[in-house]
Amino acid sequence: MSAADVTPIPKDAPRGYYGPDGQPQFFQDPAMDRFAAVVVKLAQEFWVVAERLDAIERLVAAKNIGTAQEISRLLSDPQVTAEREAALAKFIARTLGSLREP
């Protein structure tokens, strides 16, 4: 099998499905596809900060001081995990809700 035989897209794929960079393109302007990725990555970074803040708030409330070890310990707490999963679902619904169909 020669190198040309295996490509990331199937042989019958219409070229119009992909942008000039060869990446999948869904919006009329390929910049929109890139912005869609930027939006969710920004949301991810925001979430990372939110989770760090959550850790600090919990520790401050509990002990009035927060060590790295104490923050790390929260990661294996199933109660904290469950609460964070639920908070994330709400966060995603709030920030990305405008993507839903009305």
Binding site: A3, P10, V40, F91
Partner: protein
């Protein structure tokens, strides 16, 4: 939810890694459940109506649904976010693996010693080496340095994020569901030797040893780093499975040397020519009365046009170039072409054992027929069920 790996090569995650991975899991769940449901509603409420106005009928194939959906905002939104989220899966694990590469390699070398046999002369097929399969950086092989298990670690940790818990707490739900189905459905089989083709990190190889503790279980793959990782992963879980670097098109095993030849999520990453050669080899190494069994995506002919389109999305947008060509085949015919007798063919749908529980699997085992065309068949979202098919090797005359 991100799965916490159940072995000693589990990653050392800091608080940011955990938050970043949790976000990717939540984002994928939103896309694959909520945005997917919106896409279906958009199809039913406007796309199909527009199509009928133009064509005087509903779309009859997945390809027609795909073409009709392309301009719809629900499709564009779902698709752009799914591509972004897929890349974010790998972005959330590659740096973690990179910074612990030395320790991972040392741990794998210790635990996997004597359980894996590499073939330095093996040429990795272009279907693995020429593309980043499902956007996985470096594909299954990475830089292919012996002793470097990082491609295996990236795949394992990536699946832990990607699967959202739907592939089980040990990423072995497919193997557990399939091996329970086979062992209960065919109690007379009692295999002495089991071969798992294209096993990658052996996550679905291990359950076969648990179902058949007396059997010798061997997993093969072309990706050496994945196999070294697999050997260590299985050993750390106390399961005696062996791994050999080998191409499933050219098995280095004698004729009639296995009772069960299995694969999972393997065939859709191969060309049709390659599948023909793999099936012929499977048939050659099976003993009379042995079983070839594959867990795979359900065939298009068994699905409605929307369900077919939904699954084939990956072919066009997720670096799975062989996916649709495989799904367009009739698995019964693929088996027949490889020389298996048509009367020895069967297919089935097993509910995920982790999602539905053992009782639901046992009910599927008792059922005479299975409905393939469900939105949950082969679709990684809430309520997933696995499709499988098999062919019996004829008994000696």
């Amino acid at each position: 939810m991100t799965v916490v790996l159940k072995h000693d090569m589990k990653p050392d995650l800091d608080a940011e890694d955990v938050a970043r991975q949790r976000f990717v899991g939540g984002l994928r769940s939103f896309i694959l459940n909520d945005l997917a449901a919106d896409m279906r509603r958009a199809y039913d409420s406007r796309v199909v109506l527009d199509f009928k106005r133009t064509h005087g009928r509903e779309p009859s194939t997945g390809a027609e649904v795909h073409e009709a959906m392309r301009p719809d905002p629900a499709f564009k939104t779902y698709s752009a976010l799914r591509v972004a989220a897929q890349k974010m899966v790998w972005d959330s694990v590659v740096p973690v693996v990179e910074r612990s590469r030395t320790a991972l390699n040392a741990a794998a070398a210790r635990a996997g010693a004597g359980r894996v046999e590499l073939d330095p002369s093996l040429e990795v097929p272009r279907s693995v080496s020429a593309i980043d399969v499902h956007f996985m950086p470096g594909s299954y092989t990475g830089a292919s340095q012996p002793g470097d298990v990082s491609p295996g670690a990236i795949y394992d940790q990536g699946l832990a994020v990607f699967s959202m818990g739907l592939m089980g707490e040990n990423l072995d739900d497919i193997g557990l569901s399939m091996s329970r189905y086979v062992s209960r459905k065919f109690p007379e089989l009692r295999p002495k030797r089991i071969l798992d083709l294209g096993c990658t990190i052996g996550h679905n190889t291990v359950p076969w040893k648990k179902s058949y503790p007396e059997a010798e279980v061997i997993g093969i793959d072309v990706a050496g780093g994945c196999l070294e990782y697999a050997a260590a992963r299985a050993a750390m879980q106390g399961v005696d499975v062996r791994f050999r670097q080998m191409n499933a098109e050219r098995l280095a095993f004698p004729d009639a040397s296995f009772d069960l030849v299995f694969s999972s999520m393997f065939l859709h990453e191969l060309s049709l020519k390659t599948i023909g050669r793999v099936f012929a080899e499977a048939r050659r190494v099976l003993r009379p009365g042995g079983l070839m069994l594959h867990m795979e995506l359900p065939p298009n002919a068994e699905m409605g046009p929307f369900e077919g389109f939904y699954l084939d999305w990956d072919c066009y947008y997720n670096v799975e170039p062989f996916y649709k060509a495989f799904r367009d085949q009739d698995p019964r015919e693929l088996c027949r072409r490889a020389g298996f007798a048509p009367q020895g063919y069967f297919q089935f749908v097993v509910p995920s054992i982790g999602g539905y529980g053992v009782t639901a699997v046992d009910e599927a085992i008792a059922a005479e027929t299975h409905t393939v065309n469900r939105e949950t068949t082969g679709r990684l979202a809430a309520g997933i069920q696995w499709f499988g098919f098999g062919s019996w090797q004829e008994r000696a005359q």
